[in-house]
């Protein structure tokens, strides 16, 4: 029996090693609607085990070619995404859209050389100024999965509005709040809403560039779309897809709580370490990466709340 356990352990250890050394993300396209697919990442933090596959990307098959929505966290991811797409469609690449300038959403751009890569102007600026620093950081967090990855900025600025594209109609919404440029894509033809990182599902939102008021306003815009008659599904930036607006409401609840918690803690006189050590409310206790993202968010958001709470001394 002991030997059996040992060989099982050894076996699974070797499997793990093999999986890692192949650097295979194991991308499996999930069908959301006709001709609309997503690759769902893990509800985790970046690690050398997941190689940064913590993000949702997707693609829409149009008569004019494939529209790719976000390119993932690395060169390898972008390459493997293309292989996975080829299995489902023989269509050529039409364009890659970067929803915003966070590294897990655009560092696969390099694999799409020769295809137009489009984004909002603020996203282009963000990638140009911060892309290399982000890439360095992901090398540190994800290790060799990143091999060869370089920050490749988008090649053109996207114009928001309704766009007829290869027999479909896409609605491009220029929003902000998670970052200074958050593009949401509503495929009117299928009723699928790609929300980017404005929406998280059962995974705590990240806030390094957040402006909460703007973010909440963007969530209202997105929720209105989920009430349109043609709506069928929402693809959050992180977490499972949903058939209703629940992830929007959850993201809103988290952000409102976070904002309120920072103000109250600052008004009560707490210091950073004390605020970071506070437990999450029961409502969010099950949220993936909840405690870590809360602590990070305290670092991002508490200093402003603190400044508001301290009076001018003469």
């Amino acid at each position: 029996m002991k030997r059996l356990i040992f060989s099982c352990l050894l076996g699974s250890f070797c499997t793990l090693l093999a999986a890692e050394s192949n650097f295979d993300y194991g991308l499996q396209a999930q069908r959301v609607a006709d001709d609309v697919y997503v690759f769902i990442g893990r509800n985790e933090d970046f690690s050398t085990v997941n190689g940064g596959n913590i993000v949702n990307t997707g693609f829409i098959v149009t008569a004019a070619g494939l529209v790719v929505i976000d390119s993932g966290p690395s060169l390898r991811y972008g390459q493997q995404m293309q292989q996975a797409m080829k299995k489902l469609s023989s269509a050529t690449l039409l364009q890659v859209i970067n929803t915003h300038h966070h590294p897990d959403h655009f560092l696969g751009n390099q694999a799409f050389a020769g295809t137009p890569i489009v984004a909002l102007e603020a996203t282009r600026q963000g990638i140009a100024s911060e892309g290399n620093v982000f890439a360095e950081n992901l090398y540190r967090l994800s290790g060799d999965w990143m091999k060869g990855t370089e920050s490749v900025p988008p090649t053109a600025t996207i114009v928001p509005g309704r766009v007829p594209l290869g027999g479909r109609t896409l609605r491009l919404l220029a929003l902000d709040g998670h970052t200074d440029g958050d593009l949401a894509i509503y495929d009117e033809t299928s009723g699928v809403l790609f929300a980017g990182d404005l929406v998280f599902n059962n995974r705590a939102p990240t806030t390094p560039h957040a402006r909460i008021k703007r973010w909440l306003a963007s969530l209202d815009t997105l929720e209105a779309i989920t009430r349109e008659p043609g709506f069928t599904a929402i693809v959050p930036g992180h977490g499972a897809i949903a058939r209703d607006g629940a992830p929007i409401r959850q993201t809103r609840a988290w952000l409102r709580w976070l904002d309120q918690a920072m103000r109250e803690a600052a008004a009560a006189g707490f210091d950073l370490n004390e605020v970071m050590a506070r437990p999450l409310p029961a409502e969010f206790a099950e949220m993936a990466v909840g405690v870590r993202e809360y602590q990070r968010s305290v670092g991002h958001l508490f200093p402003a709340a603190e400044q508001e709470a301290l009076g001018h001394a003469h």
């Binding site: 540190r140 009560a268 006189g269 210091d271 950073l272 602590q295 670092g299 001018h312 001394a313 003469h314």
Partner: protein
Amino acid sequence: MKLFLMIVALACSALVPLAQAANNEAPVDPLDSARWHEMQKMFLAGQHYVFDPRVRVIAPLDADNPMQVPITVDASALGKVREVVVFADFNPIIQILRFYPEAASAYLGFRVKLQQSTPVRAAVRTADGVWHVGGTWVNTVGGGCTAPSAAATAPEWQKRLNEVSARQWQSGTLAGRLRLRVVHPMDTGLVAGIPAFHLQEVKLSDSSDQALMRIETFEPVSENPVFTLQQKTPGRVKATGRDNNGNDFNVWIEP
């Protein structure tokens, strides 16, 4: 790799009390830092010292922002404290600050810039002359000491140099708390073309000029420093301070 080393360090630290009990020679560093010997020579040479869990140094194990790592030093369990020196073994500028509690508790919250993962320690000198040492490991991406301050790139902030905002809390669980924030770039001098420019001293005293605490600050203290103290008796507090270029401030913090 760093994380692995840290896990080993933490695992080892659990075994240390046994090792310490086994011999009566120099105390063994509970944080198992390769630089402890140097630290000991730098700050405690020829002095009697002990590692003491009553010296609490609180910091996040993983600090995401190396420019603003929150540190809380609480030595209030030790009785009368004369002096506290706070340092980080692996920082390019090792000494962070010193504070001298008088009428205030031996308690101070502040933020530091860290260049890499490091122990952060407080050595606390009690009235009997013994140093009590506590500390914790902080894991960070680093680069905090060689990144320019926000003020260095946005000069309009410097019009508010040494501006103080502050508040006291008189009731509830945090009664006696005093927090103050000083606008200052706290440039380390380690960024090319930006000379060291930092606060050197902050003094807090009551309305009858009795000292509450004196704080000596060095380059690693974060930009726009925020200090958190615990007063024993409420009242008006005078805060004065100066930087290494001779700029000073002198304000009252009302209760």
